[in-house]
Amino acid sequence: MKVVLVPVAEVSSRENRMDSWRTQKPAIDYSTCIRCMICWKFCPDNAIMYSDDGGYQFPNERLSKLEAPVIDYEHCKGCGICANECPEGSITMEMEGGE
């Protein structure tokens, strides 16, 4: 029986969407992305996932066999660290809601 209110969250913090926090949004150019996953490693919010659905562009056939980074736009806060770290310059930051 709940008698007093206790500030605990019984739902996962994944339910907290962060997309409204963003002013800029990262976009990956898969035609130049070498699948190094440095963006995945540096993302402070675990908002970059692995994907093996293969439906992305790729710079060459060999790289088409590797998993690709995919941004979880519900949890990405738009900090731009991924774009800054990308060794190929494949991630660009675009203004939210157009220029």
């Binding site: 008698v3 500030p7 605990v8």
Partner: protein, 393 residues
Amino acid sequence: MIRTLQKYNAIMTGNEAVAMGAKLARVRFISAYPITPQTTIVEKLAEMIANRELDARYVEVESEHSAMAATMASELTGTRSYTATSSHGLLYMHEMLHWVAGQRLPVVMSVVNRAIGPPWNIWSDQTDTMNQKDTGWMQVYCESNQEALDTILMGYRIAEDRNVMLPLMTMEDAFVLSHTSEPVNVPEQKAVDDFLPELDLSYRIDVDRPMGYGSYSTPDGPFMELKKDMHDSMDRARKAIRSVTAEFATSFDRNYSGLIEEFLTEDADYVLIASGTLASTGKYVIQRLREKGYKVGLIRIRFFRPFPADEIRKAVKGTKGTGIIDRSISFGSGGNTFLEVSSSLYGTDNPPLYGFIAGLGGRDVKIEDFEEMFRIMEKKEPGQYWINIRRGD
């Protein structure tokens, strides 16, 4: 008088008595940082653990802020936890006090009331705990070593009441209680176990049931409702305090009468309101004045949070004057108890109110000082007065 004659079976200082209270309450976790005049409480508990008289974990930390953080973390796992501090150490804990109360953790902490510098001062003064009155902790001011011990036991019962779930701090006056030996009745462990069952915390850290603790809330989230519930729980605590105190009286034959203790107030023309050991001197003076035919009485505030507004309203009704003694001051306004009593009586047919600031930094409040307070109430205009203050030449 509220205490019945009883068999004493020990002589102990206030600090030894609260350490014994924590042991009897079967606390399982203690974390503290030393500060005079609290240190001997946790020293005693550390000794009990080392001697295997108490089965608890003792965690040494580098500050009071960490002590309360560790106590909070431990309590969150559903373990009955305890800490103790004083003065500047308590102020250093201030942030964590809000976290423990806001997280609805029924921690009990002993505080030995000591002045806040500058100038550096280790003596009795209530400024340290009055600074914490808005943190959501219940506050009890004790008058004797026996009460200090018993309040730990009652404290856990009240704090852990499912209608309350708020932490509680219990106070002793520096040195007057903390380092002074008095005869004490130490109850049997079996009787304490019957009175105080094991803690069963509904929301505890459990790897099989993951939950978010201390998560965040937007303005539209439950933030405001959670705060209102804390305030409502303080209201519900009044009921819990009365019933736990009554049950304690039945089990241990010591009756602390609830949120306040009234001493010869029934027919009194003039009433003093005090807390802690100042009330003891006050009662002595009142007995002497009664012998001379003066109709005087005293209200001892035990609980400052929740504040006993109804009890005080009833007790001072019809007096010719009510004086409120404060061993602390809110600069630019007045004595903290004076302010609380004044607002409790707002809109009622209240008696003239006199605020007395006394005993700051451990300055003795003597028999003459109490007589002076009664003289002021009889002769002077209502207002706030400083007692035994040296005038500049």
